[in-house]
């Protein structure tokens, strides 16, 4: 998908030559988000099949050569939606966001091309065992369930490729800073880069798990594994993973959406502080995913609970700051009184609407998240369908619906085509919204009140209870809305790609200005203290337990293929 700079007379000329400077960045972004959207289409299809299964309708017999069982489908659903759709879209989005925010092309484009190649090769490699039913281990791949080694190596390459993309971004930011001494880093570029650095730190955990344990074990180089140590490495990674999903949405919500609303960034300083706090606090919290694990002391679990409450704070701050930024826009568009500004927001703009609806859904996802984080309160919901209820509101909506909203300006930008049928795009946003509300509500209630287990073929479960049925029907209706929404999304995107109507002027990436133009204080534009703080907190929060678990490691578990 390349931007073709068609020579235009008069007004469009500067904008087009500007786009020409970024033609490689546009291509890179296009490849990344293209792979992301292709992956999501398969992931979503599997989700639909899961919804049917829960009502007792087994569609897997019709998909047998490709998807043989519910659990194979669920593995692919998780990998494609939670790992591929997200990682590829994020790297692609940041390729545009960082370069346009800095108004500077990539410093070493070959690095980012290499990153994409590694990610893509990794994806292809992992596709083989996934489709061949050699890796039906779900996207968390907990040992001693053992997948084929190509699964672990493929995922490793995807992660390493994302690191390489990050290095390309860091060199670019560094070059900009040298070329612009004394100037504050533009917000979008800073926030995106902080996200990539957080990701780099986070993925060290899963890299350690795969490279020191799972890969050699699956290749037969080590006889056994220690499941608790593997889990601990994974969840060191698994919590910041969700911030890797969330922070790009925050980049858009803070740095782009206010512009789309006719508003400004309510507080540039607080927005930056929020991102630094995420760098500091995203990782030293992973035991909240292991509250019910044996072998980890209650004291450490409680400390991580406190730190997790710490990392809830920047999100609560975000709720206010983003709402206030939108309020500026709503009032600028004529809104009056306490809430009149809400009606005046650009609800006719599908990109805006998708992102604002994503924020509303996230408000509820955040509440169930704080509940999950609440140490012993987690006992009520652990491993029930409350958990997927929660994360479909977060990664499934805050992230995914925001990414759809971003696509509604980004795809026109990359292709130079008009967005196809904006009314369909609006319908897409609203059907996703209602679909997720129904889906989420059903699953939260089933989990909390009935303890219905997650990751389970409920339609065939021996303990299936008729009391679940009304809620499963609610979930299913949600799935029908989501199915419609997904169809609308791809219809709009494909329609845009094949649209005859070109844009006269290229789409500009929306960049919100700060309401207060005073440069932010230097400490909000300085890496070292935050980075050292993040590393120190990780050493404190994880050091002692990792030392204990590693020194007491017992590699007693052989591999099992349980599917």
């Amino acid at each position: 998908m390349s931007v073709q700079s068609i020579p235009q007379p008069a007004a469009g000329a500067d904008a087009h030559s500007s786009e020409a400077r970024f033609s490689l960045e546009n291509k890179l972004t296009g490849w990344h988000i293209g792979v992301a959207m292709a992956a999501l289409s398969i992931g979503v299809t599997l989700g639909i099949m899961q919804g049917f299964e829960h009502l007792g309708i087994d569609l897997y017999k019709y998909t047998a050569p490709a998807f043989k069982t519910y659990y194979q489908g669920l593995t692919i659903h998780g990998v494609l939606n939670a790992l591929v759709w997200t990682t590829f879209f994020i790297v692609g989005f940041f390729t545009t966001a960082i370069t346009r925010s800095l108004d500077r092309p990539l410093k070493y484009p070959w690095i980012n091309v290499l990153g994409f190649v590694l990610m893509f090769v990794g994806l292809l490699m992992a596709t083989y065992p996934l489709l061949a039913n050699l890796a039906t281990v779900l996207y968390t791949f907990y040992p001693p369930m053992q997948a084929h080694w190509t699964f672990y190596l493929g995922l490793t390459l995807v992660v390493v490729g994302s690191w390489v993309a990050g290095y390309g971004f860091y060199f670019t930011l560094h070059a900009w800073r040298k070329e612009n001494p004394g100037k504050r880093t533009p917000f979008i570029a800073l926030a995106s880069t902080i996200t990539m650095v957080m990701w780099q730190i986070a993925t060290l955990g899963v890299a350690a798990e795969i490279l020191t344990m799972l890969l050699p074990w699956s290749l037969g180089l080590i006889e056994g594994t220690d499941p608790l140590l593997a889990r601990t490495y994974f969840w060191y990674f698994g919590h910041p993973l969700v911030y890797f999903w969330l922070l790009p949405a925050y980049v858009a919500w803070y740095g782009m959406v206010p512009k789309q609303a006719g508003g400004k960034m309510f507080s540039d300083s607080l927005a930056r502080l929020v991102f630094w706090l995420f760098l500091l606090l995203s990782t030293p919290v992973g035991f909240h995913h292991q509250y019910t694990d044996p072998g980890i002391p209650q004291g450490w679990k409680f400390i991580h609970a406190l730190l997790t409450y710490g990392v809830a704070f920047p999100s609560l701050l975000t709720a206010f700051t983003v709402a206030a930024s939108l309020e500026i826009g709503g009032r600028a568009r004529g809104g009056k009184g306490w809430f009149g500004w809400i009606r005046k927001l650009p609800w006719d703009n599908p990109s805006y609407t998708a992102q604002n609806l994503a924020m509303i859904i996230f408000a509820f996802g955040g509440i169930s998240g704080i509940t999950n984080a609440s140490y012993n309160v987690n006992l009520a919901v652990h491993n029930t369908v409350w958990i997927p209820g929660h994360f479909h509101l977060t990664v499934g909506s805050a992230t995914t619906l925001t990414f759809f909203g971003i696509a509604y300006w980004l795809v026109p930008k990359l292709t130079g085509k008009q967005l196809y049928k904006p009314k369909l795009a609006l319908a897409q946003a609203w059907t996703w919204f209602f679909g997720m509300i129904l889906f989420g509500n059903g699953f939260h209630l089933l989990g909390l009140h009935y303890g219905v287990p997650r990751r389970t073929m409920l339609g065939a479960a021996v303990y299936r209870d008729p009391a679940w049925t009304p809620f499963l029907i609610e979930v299913f209706v949600g799935v029908l809305f989501l199915t419609t929404s997904a169809i609308l999304f791809y219809w709009v995107i494909i329609g845009t790609l094949t649209h005859k109507k070109r844009l006269e002027k290229p789409v500009e990436m929306p960049i919100a200005e700060a309401a207060d133009p005073t440069p932010v204080p230097a400490w909000l534009d300085t890496w070292k203290p935050w980075l050292y703080g993040a590393i120190a907190l990780i050493i404190i929060a994880y050091g002692p337990m990792l030392y204990t678990l590693i020194s007491e490691m017992q590699l007693t578990s052989p591999g099992f293929r349980v599917w």
């Binding site: 939108l326 709503g330 009032r331 600028a332 704080i370 509940t371 012993n376 006992l379 309401a515």
Partner: protein, 39 residues
């Protein structure tokens, strides 16, 4: 343009939000309490 230092709409929304947070969290909390001690 209205003075950005008085986002009264945002604050009002947040007050409604915090009540929802408290209600929903408390619901789960008291459910846990009703299910009893574990040690």
């Amino acid at each position: 343009m209205k003075d950005p230092d008085t986002p009264k709409g945002a604050l009002a929304l947040m007050l409604v939000y915090v009540l929802i947070i408290i209600a929903l969290w408390s619901n789960v909390y008291f459910t846990v309490l009703s299910r009893g001690a574990t040690q």
